[in-house]
């Protein structure tokens, strides 16, 4: 039986290649995703490992709380006086405090040195003890020593032509200062730390410009030979102050790497979702292929059955075929996966999401998972058609038959419609009732499944509709339309693959366009600014407060309203807050304060959003407990309740409070009001001029700010679309596959058509139009479904500020047109083989 199976597979090479390709592509995506996230994880770990390599123990204050997301846990600083106590402990070889913070380098012309993709710009103190530096080593020059010396990462130096000995300005949260570049730094062979820019100062200077004199972030300890990390930490624990702790260097590394995994989890899940989609789409093709294989072989199978093969044997043979195919294709897919990982890396670079990287990591886990998933999906997709095959009665199969029209089953249609209706009901219950978001999600999924199940029902009407203009192109068009609808189940599962891809792409673009429109609306409705101050890139952490003073002094500027952002724990729940300037916020940000006033924030006030107040049952005058990592708990009195508009956070405090609670921080943006009578363009130019000394900030007009604000959205959208296009590509392979098999099935028919006078060109046109009809069924239904889902999704995200629903009609029309073109391309091969069918094949009876 195995030999027969193998021979059968090899006999249909094209089918084999196409089916293998569709499985392999799905698996490639899965494997690529795993490879890429493993690689990124390792790269991050290497980076952090490099920095903490030489440290055996760390003394630090206990965190007020551990922030739920990743690396952002911040602690109060530790007093420098602890250093002396630690140094006395037995087994300690070296002790040094460490300080790090925001430091933006500028080049010799004073322009900001911005890292790719907005990676952080960080300053550190350079430990005097070489071992405590870890893998940070000087590549040229020497370590910073004096108060006006800096060593910078080699990449920043090379790419910006900053020579040793030259003087550059470095911007901090406090006032900027000038430094002489005395050295360049590398990190265990790399010229930068995962794309970030680094500035190293001597410890005293670092404390002054990055932190506060007399305080350190943490204290690093090196052990004498023969003292283990655990021993050292134990001994240190005895001497550190009550609010501090001593942990091993290994523990700190582990914390870092855990935090990284946590950060990467989102990326990993995102990629796995795409891989799942690709495999799901691929399984339609496998399903289709096996269905057609079985139809074509029904005679052969019936013959086998007639001569005594049991149902089991036939089933086993077909499943064996699926197993072999699945395993082989999965192996190919894993190979392709390495390419996919490389491609994704490139793609992320291109769209501006820059992540550290190392050589590609192919873990055994990746191989096992990919092989299992690919093979299983194939076998499962083959089970139903294979079971159907074994039910073929010998008489049925031996009857002279050409595949004719087939009606979609009523039962299937009813089931599909029922699932669809239930799904829509679930979505509506969330949107207009008070069902939770999870009901919306399940409803959405149900809706898609319902459409897929019921799609055969729509094939006829859709084909007639789409075929109407094609039919005008004469006989080939008419036959194409008929061929597309003669087997609704096959057409629908071929089109469904494309439909899924398009649904996702379209719903993303509808969602994005609604988001964009909402952003534009909120800018004009809820802000009253003439000019906007922002950081140099969308992902920059912000700019120094000194920028505000510089801009306020520009003639023609009436008011500047600064704002910042932060994380704290309010009533035991982590939440972001906005920090504003109480004097100008109400007017410039149109807070829509319904009770109280932002001017009353004072030292211990807080504003809460109406929605948060309602859900917590808060009233004006109530107290909210807010915990800040740097300063612990504060009791804040509610002085105002506002409606969310431009400000999406639940809490507002003043900038002065933020400095008091969380230490000096950067500003995120400034809104500039131009004095009446002053000309906007002139003032903008004057502000830009004033910012020449402040390369960490930009001035933008309304259009410019709108563009920057949605820039990141566009980046994400491009990324997601490119990923989903892979699913579309697989779907197109499915069309090629279906057409190729249909052409093979219809050999006699094609011969007949050629005999009675259809030219090769007409035959090609016929196959091409059929392909276009199938592609358009998928594209049109996908676009329709995508619009519905995109709008529903936007509506569901209303709480996040999406208030305007729009449909990007031109873009959608383009997608549909592209699908039609893709249909034409998919038909090239099958059309050629159809045109080359031997005319006599129709005449000769077997």
């Amino acid at each position: 039986m195995l030999a027969a199976t193998l021979r059968g597979m090899i006999a249909h090479k094209l089918r084999l290649v196409l089916t293998t390709a569709s499985i392999a592509l799905g698996v490639a995506f899965l494997a690529g995703t795993l490879v890429l996230t493993d690689t990124m994880g390792l790269a991050f770990e290497q980076l952090f490992g490099k920095v903490s390599a030489g440290t055996d123990a760390v003394v630090r204050t206990q965190a007020a709380y551990t922030a739920s997301e990743g690396t952002s846990t911040s602690r109060p600083p530790i007093a420098a006086s602890v250093l002396g106590d630690v140094a006395k402990v037995d087994g300690v070889r070296a002790v040094e405090g460490s300080v790090s913070g925001y430091a933006l380098l500028t080049d010799n012309e004073g322009r900001a040195v911005v890292a790719d993709g907005g990676a952080p710009t960080v300053g550190y103190n350079m430990p005097a003890d070489v071992a405590l530096r870890g893998d940070v080593d000087l590549l040229s020059g020497e370590a910073p020593n004096g108060p006006a010396e800096v060593a910078i990462d080699a990449t920043s130096a090379e790419e910006n032509g900053i020579a040793l000995g030259s003087t550059i300005k470095v911007l901090f949260q406090g006032p900027p200062e000038e430094f002489t570049v005395v050295g360049t730094v590398g990190f265990g062979g790399e010229k930068d730390l995962g794309g970030t820019t680094s500035a190293y100062f001597n410890t005293e200077t670092a404390q002054r410009v990055l932190g506060s004199p007399g305080l350190f972030d943490t204290i690093g300890v090196g052990a004498e030979d023969g003292v283990s990390q655990a021993e050292l930490a134990d001994r240190l624990a005895a001497v550190v102050p009550a609010d501090a702790e001593a942990v091993t260097g290994a523990a700190v590394s582990q914390e870092n790497s855990d935090a990284i995994s946590e950060d990467l989890k989102f990326v990993r899940v995102l990629f796995l979702v795409f891989a799942g989609i690709a495999l799901f789409v691929g399984s339609f093709i496998i399903w289709n292929t096996f269905t057609m294989i079985v139809t074509q072989r029904s005679r052969e199978i019936a013959l086998l059955r007639a001569v005594g093969a049991t149902r089991r044997q036939v089933l086993r043979s077909l499943l064996l075929e699926a197993l072999l195919l699945g395993a082989a294709a999965s192996a190919v897919g894993i190979g392709l996966g390495l390419l996919v990982a490389k491609g994704l890396q490139l793609l992320m670079d291109v769209v501006g999401i820059s992540l550290p990287s190392t050589s590609l990591q192919l873990e055994p886990r990746t191989i096992i998972v990919s092989m299992l998933v690919g093979t299983l999906v194939t076998v499962i997709a083959a089970i139903v058609p294979a079971r159907r095959a074994t039910k073929v009665l010998p008489v049925e199969a031996l009857r002279e038959s050409t595949p004719g029209a087939e009606r979609p089953s009523k039962r299937r249609a009813i089931i599909g419609l029922a699932i669809l209706v239930a799904g829509v009901a679930g979505m509506l219950a969330n949107l207009y009732g008070d069902a939770p978001l999870s009901v919306f999600g399940i409803g959405l999924l149900a809706m898609m499944i319902g459409v897929i199940v019921a799609l055969p029902l729509a094939v006829r009407p859709l084909s007639s509709l789409i075929g109407a203009p094609i039919t005008l192109r004469g006989m080939p068009g008419e036959l194409a339309t008929q061929n597309a609808m003669r087997n609704p189940r096959r057409t629908s599962s071929t089109a469904a693959a494309l439909m899924i891809g398009l649904t996702l792409v379209v719903s993303m673009s509808v969602f994005a366009s609604s988001m964009r429109a909402s952003f534009g609306d909120v800018l004009s409705d809820r802000l009253s600014a003439d000019l906007y101050l922002t950081g140099p890139s969308t992902q920059s952490p912000g700019f120094s407060p000194s920028v505000i003073d510089a801009v306020a002094a520009v003639p023609g500027v009436d008011k500047v309203s600064a704002s910042g952002f932060g994380m704290a724990r309010f009533d035991d729940r982590d939440a972001p807050f906005t920090a504003v300037d109480p004097a100008t916020a109400e007017e410039m940000m149109k807070l829509h304060t319904s009770e109280g006033s932002v001017r009353d924030l004072g030292e211990n006030g807080i504003m809460v959003a109406r929605s948060a107040a309602t859900s917590h049952g808060w009233q004006l005058g109530d107290t909210v407990t807010a915990a800040f990592a740097a300063s612990g708990e504060h009791q804040l009195r509610i002085v105002g309740i506002y409606d969310k508009g431009w400000i999406r956070e639940d809490y507002i405090i003043s900038l002065a409070q933020r400095t008091a609670f969380a230490g000096p921080q950067l500003l995120l943006m400034g809104l500039v009001d131009v004095a009446p009578g002053a000309e906007l363009a002139t003032v903008q130019a004057a502000v830009a001029n004033a910012l020449a000394d402040h390369p960490d900030a930009l001035v933008l007009d309304h259009a410019g700010y709108e563009k920057q604000g949605i820039g990141f959205l566009d980046t994400m959208l491009t990324f997601v679309t490119v990923m989903l296009l892979l699913a579309v590509l697989i779907a197109l392979l499915g069309i090629v596959n279906t057409l190729a098999l249909s052409v093979f099935e219809r050999t006699r028919e094609l011969g007949l058509l050629r005999a009675v006078g259809m030219t090769r060109g007409q035959v090609r046109a016929m196959v091409r139009w059929e392909s276009v009809v199938i592609a358009l069924i998928g594209a049109v239904s996908g676009a329709a479904l995508g619009i519905v889902i995109g709008l529903a999704l936007s509506r569901a995200m209303q709480v996040f500020g999406i208030n305007t629903l729009t449909v990007p009609a031109a873009q959608l029309a383009l997608y549909v047109a592209l699908a039609a073109v893709a249909g034409v391309l998919a038909a090239v091969g099958p059309a050629r083989s159809a045109a080359n069918v031997d005319v006599l094949r129709a005449v000769v009876t077997d």
Binding site: E749, V756, V839, L840
Partner: protein, 252 residues
Amino acid sequence: MTLTTGIPRVTTAVAARTVGVSKLYGMGDAAVTALDDVSVDMLEGQFTAVMGPSGSGKSTLLHMLAGLDRPTSGDVYVGPTEITTLKDTALTLLRRDRIGFIFQSFNLLPTMTAAENIVLPMRIAGRRPDAAWVDSIVETVGLKDRLSHRPAELSGGQQQRVAAARALASRPQIVFADEPTGALDSKSGTELLTFLRTAVTELGQTVVMVTHEPTAASYADRVIFLADGHIVNEMHAATADEILDHMKFLGS
């Protein structure tokens, strides 16, 4: 019994002819000579039957004349046109516009109704069928009440009559039929043959038909006998018994 010498009547125009046509299949030792230097004229307005033992080259001859296949050597004319040198498209158009076919089976497109199948060649050409003419043919083959049926809903005999109607609907110069009654019972066969005979007698159609059955051949004006790729004889206006006798004579 009217044994003639096979000299064509000079008064009648030639609808199709082969001149020294040979067809070889395969190469070297395995080569089969399906037709060996065959020259034959098919006269306009005549019903010609081609007979001969299985494997004698009947179908091959028909395929050559109908432009479905190309000879290894020799020339084939349809009307005045020499077709062996025609390019594929020109040959296809010639089949579409000037030739009608009835095959033994699988004559019809399963997705189309009888009516649609009948006008298929004209629709392929993008021409409007002559409605009166098509009606008269449909009337003659007796398919009026079956026009909206698909092939799967028609009997074998009805299917062959639809095929015959299609072959004649475009007013071809010549109609070729390869064992059109092969899969039919005698009643259906008789209906089809009567129809072809009527087409020749009343409409002046030219028909060339391959058949095994003396009864079928007796509907023809002329019967050509093939054996081993050669034309061995021909008869005119023969009865079924005469043909059967001649076949026995050839067989012995």
